[in-house]
Amino acid sequence: MLRYIVRRLLQLIPTLLGLSVILFIWLHRLPGGPETAILGERGTDETRAKLRHDLGLDEPLWIQYFRFMRRMITGNLGTSISTHRPVVTEFAERFPGTVELTVSALIIAIGLGIPLGYLAARRRGSIVDHGSVAGSLLGICVPIFVLAYLVKEVFAVKLGWFPAAGRQDVTIDATRVTNFYVLDGMLTGEWDAAADALKHLVLPAFTLATIPLAIIIRMTRASVLEVLGEDYVRTAEAKGLTERVVRRRHVLRNALLPIVTTIGLLTGGLLSGAVLTETVYSFTGIGQFIAESIDRRDYPVLMGFIMFVAVIYVTVNLLVDISYGLIDPRVRVR
């Protein structure tokens, strides 16, 4: 198993290398450059050229690429062209918000989706079933920003149950350790700060969870329905096993394989959904920063972001493969 994981990790290197080359070229070939954003209309051709030279943008692309790679290997993502701060620092401040949001959404989607999908399959044709199927269809159809505004309008503005914006109340003076606000509160024992951060997470997380939740419900339902028809489930029932053992050991364990794959595929969409959700809830994650960086052609920030997302995506899919091996012995053998 360990050898399998190491081999998979080594396979990542060429993937990431290839990705970085393609995206580097593509990004730098986009019309316009950071000098336009910085100098605006005021810049003369001369000042533009000087700025490009200062930023090292006038050198051949492959030299720029090698410089970028050399920096990256040492963990240095360079300095943002627009904020003049190290990209790593910018990310350390903003990524935790996005990750917090994404992970919460994923927990909600999995925690509700699998039980609901299972129930829908087990009580096929019942109200639970029809409700889940119709609800999940709705969840997939409604665009996420429309839903985000609706949810905010109702639960934050009208009912006032949850805060409408931000990651934490400004009046709270919380100690920052990791920039994961909930985690920080728990680490430092500032429980009210953690609770407040959690409260701020509820609406955006549920909003972001809607689409993955809908997909997981449908996937679980279909997968469980298939497994319920299998002979080994009948064998388990014929042994008089309790409902709980049949469900866990015989139905869900087999039904989980396609669900795990789906969850892996959902992560990519979840990150882009997070950017939209952050905008609506003024949730300070990476989203807005990236949008601005695209406008400014802030190459170091964008390259760093792309590589980071790629690593997350590839890691998640590695985790998916590993859990495959854990769930199904037939995969392990190969």
């Binding site: 080994y232 009948r234 064998t235 096993l241 087999n254 199904d328």
Partner: protein
């Protein structure tokens, strides 16, 4: 005394059109006795056995109607609630299915699948259950049981998988074992071994067994009593000897003539039953076998024939030769 008394068991599937898969089946199983249920594919053998332990898909819903009675030690299985049935299944009544590969969970080690029955019904710890599971695997003739416990179904041969399923079924020493074509999916040489194993196990434990098969050869070596099913009804029922020596129903006779016999001598030809199971008449209009029957007479279409005779009973208005009818009636 009868351990299981099935009376007028009927199963109706209500899909787009009603299918009466089992239509008034009655038979009894005495304690420690092996009873055969024999018939061609689709005659309702599996449906009968699944109905008994409440495992038909959607049993007791609007989609599937089960009627009749099935008294197991005085308890009507067809009306027992789910909890009672869960307690009985695996402990009092165990079942072995036809396809050993698909009947085993592919992602759970064999040992766990055997041990879980013991944990459930005997309340032993997991470690103790594993220990007993190893003994059970040994008992059903799986070599190196301690290694096999940790293996998964795909690592076992077909015969060994069926042995593992048998180990699960006999784990709690049930009083009744239902074996639904346990050898159909196996090689011929393995078939004989598995039948021998089953025979030995039920004799040692005093377990009664319902052996479901389409193969009269299996019945001949194993069963004390035989029920021949056709289109969802018992058409002939007798102890093994009289059934083989003096079959009465033309269908039974047909089945017997269509199996190869060692004593038939060279050149003797097999005579298959003509037509196929699809050529059935609904029982309400007469004998379902009439369209395929050589001895059919007009009276066969007058209505469903009654079952007559005891202990050698049959459902036929123009029974075949080979039996002294006066004596039977």
């Amino acid at each position: 005394m009868a351990l299981l008394e099935v009376e007028d068991l009927g199963v109706t599937f209500r899909g787009d059109r009603e299918v009466r898969a089992v239509d008034g089946v009655s038979f009894t199983v005495d304690a420690g006795e092996v009873t055969g249920l024999v018939g061609e594919s689709g005659c309702g053998k599996s449906v009968t056995s699944l109905a008994l332990i409440g495992l038909l898909p959607k049993q007791n819903t609007r989609r599937v109607r089960v009627d009749g009675r099935a008294l197991f030690d005085g308890l009507d299985l067809l009306r027992a609630d789910t909890r009672t049935l869960r307690d009985i299944r695996g402990r009092e009544i165990a079942m072995i299915f036809q396809d050993p590969l698909s009947s085993l969970n592919p992602v759970v080690p064999i040992g766990v699948q055997v041990a879980e029955v013991l944990v459930r019904h005997r309340g032993v710890s997991k470690a103790e259950a594993q220990r007993r599971a190893a003994q059970l695997l040994d008992r059903v003739g799986i070599p190196d049981p301690n290694r096999r416990l940790k293996e998964y179904p795909h690592q076992l041969s077909g015969g060994m998988r069926q042995r593992a399923l048998i180990a699960m079924a006999v784990a709690c020493r049930p009083r009744l074992l239902i074996a639904d074509e346990p050898t159909t999916a196996l090689d011929v040489t393995i078939q004989a071994q598995i039948l021998e194993l089953l025979k030995e196990l039920v004799r040692e434990d005093g377990t009664a067994m319902i052996m479901i098969t389409h193969d009269l050869g299996v019945v001949a070596g194993l069963c004390d009593r035989v029920n021949v099913l056709y289109a969802g009804r018992v058409v002939e029922s007798a102890a093994r000897r009289p059934l083989f020596a003096e079959p009465v129903h033309p269908y039974t006779i047909g089945l017997l003539n269509s199996i190869p016999r060692l004593d038939a001598g060279q050149g003797a030809r097999l005579t298959p039953i003509r037509g196929s199971v699809r050529d059935v008449l609904p029982w309400s209009q007469g004998c379902a076998f009439a369209p395929r029957c050589d001895r059919a007479v007009e009276e066969c279409l007058a209505g469903p024939p009654e079952i007559t005779g005891d202990p050698h009973s049959f459902r036929c208005v123009n029974p075949g030769v080979g039996v002294d009818l006066e004596e039977v009636r």
